[in-house]
Amino acid sequence: MAKLTSTRTTPGLAVALVAVVVLAVALHGYGLAEASLRASSEQLTFLMGWGAVIGNLFAGLAGALSFTAEIRYGTIRPTLMATPRRGRVVAAKALAAAGAGLAFGLLGTAAAVGAGRLALGARGVDAAVGAGQYAQFLAGGALAGALWAVVGLGIGAVVRAQAPTVVAMTAWVLFVEAILVDSAPGLGRLAPGALGQALAGLRPDSLAAPALGGLLLGAYAAASLAAGALATRRRDFA
């Protein structure tokens, strides 16, 4: 954890996260027709849902960066010299990443709720989202952030190069998955971004049930972490 708090990257990511979420919510708050903003599930999905989507992405990026930044700056070498058992290094990173991802997920959804309510007020639409939905949105968003951070860590440990990792993950969440969900919904609902949104209670009619979403996203995290640990144990750090 000291690694995450001793540089400016983590607070920088947090500020960027809040800014992007507020922007996305505000744009959709003004752009969407009033008719599609009345129901609580519409408000949650089309407006505030961006907090979960972007929160997940940033949590995943934070997880990936916790490995790729060590490759980029070479600090992975002293890290491994201090802890030659590489499995322990990856496990410790997974714990720290999950903690940061939890915070990012919560921050993203909370910012979206705040910005979303402001936008609805400005449009003169009543906020219809209930307390239970908010609670699930925040808690599910936080949990999804934690799992996404572990997924990202595994990807970072396998790919290693920072820029391709960041670009690929961002493109996946914002473009590939959106296309997949539209063109092949049966497959798209099982993609990690959609599972994270399911966990936060978005689109309950088309996405997986939250519990199933959490379970499957957990499976993604476990698989990604296993691949990352294997790659870290096998390969040289030259």
């Binding site: 700056y73 070479g74 600090t75 070498r77 201090a82």
Partner: protein, 243 residues
């Protein structure tokens, strides 16, 4: 900064029959040498001779293709508390530019299970106490070398492994480094210094291991050079190995 326990009997480190291949490229070819307590050994060779690869295998960062590299009789990865056994400064620097020098050492002390109080001690030891709060991106090359040395000394190890440690040091810094290494060896520590700059090495090492094209072409005490300059011997050896 003395060695806290009596130096273990035998070699501080031993490299035996070490070979490292990257695809078809042979970086290190059947290299054998050992490091004894109380001596400073220079690992010399032209750029690309295999010095850094040898050090990385010794430090457990890369797997040998054949042979072995042992520290106190064990593979680096099998050492308990390796940071208390071996201190290393790699040429690549390996700092996060956005982290302060002090935080860099704190992270390492935490990871290595060392007392946090050591951080201030080693910062003072290398003359960076006043610069500890600054981010590494603002450090000169010489300051980065000093920070690397501070990190290597954190665990009060019995073996120092330094890759091109004099790069970026001014003449006063080189002299300071030399006396630090001599003092370290005088207290029973073993030092391995890799370098392609002979002048800085000639005055501070007891023994030289010269490698060229991945192979050891000389392994001799400096005293046994019989008055010939290290430069003459080195150039002769690395030239004849190539022809």
């Amino acid at each position: 900064m003395g060695v806290t326990e009596p130096p273990p009997a035998g070699d501080a480190a031993a490299v035996r029959g070490l070979t490292k291949r990257y695809g078809d490229q042979v970086a290190v070819d059947n290299v054998t040498f050992s490091l004894r307590p109380g001596t400073v050994t220079g690992l010399l060779g032209p750029n690309g001779a295999g010095k850094t690869t040898t050090l990385r295998v010794l430090l457990g960062l890369a797997e040998p293709t054949a042979g072995e590299a042992l520290v106190h009789g064990r593979r680096y990865a099998d050492l308990d508390e390796p940071w208390r056994r071996v201190g290393a400064v790699l040429e690549s620097g390996d700092f996060h530019p956005g982290r302060s020098g002090r935080d860099h050492l704190r992270v390492l002390a935490l990871a290595a299970g060392l007392a946090p109080g050591r951080v201030e001690e080693v910062l003072a030891l290398v003359g960076l106490a006043a610069a500890g709060a600054r981010r590494v991106r603002g450090y000169s090359l010489g300051m980065r070398q000093r920070l690397g040395l501070a990190a290597a000394l954190l665990g009060d190890p019995g073996l120092l492994v330094l890759d091109e440690p004099a790069n970026g040091l001014d003449p006063a810094g080189v002299r300071w480094l030399r006396s630090l290494l001599r003092g370290f060896a005088a207290r029973g520590g073993a030092v391995l210094v890799s370098s392609h700059v002979l002048a800085e090495v000639a005055q501070s090492v007891d023994r030289v291991v010269v490698i060229d094209g991945g192979r050891v072409v000389a392994d001799t005490p400096v005293a046994a050079l019989g008055g010939r300059s290290l430069e003459d011997v080195y150039l002769e050896l690395t030239a004849s190995a190539r022809s």
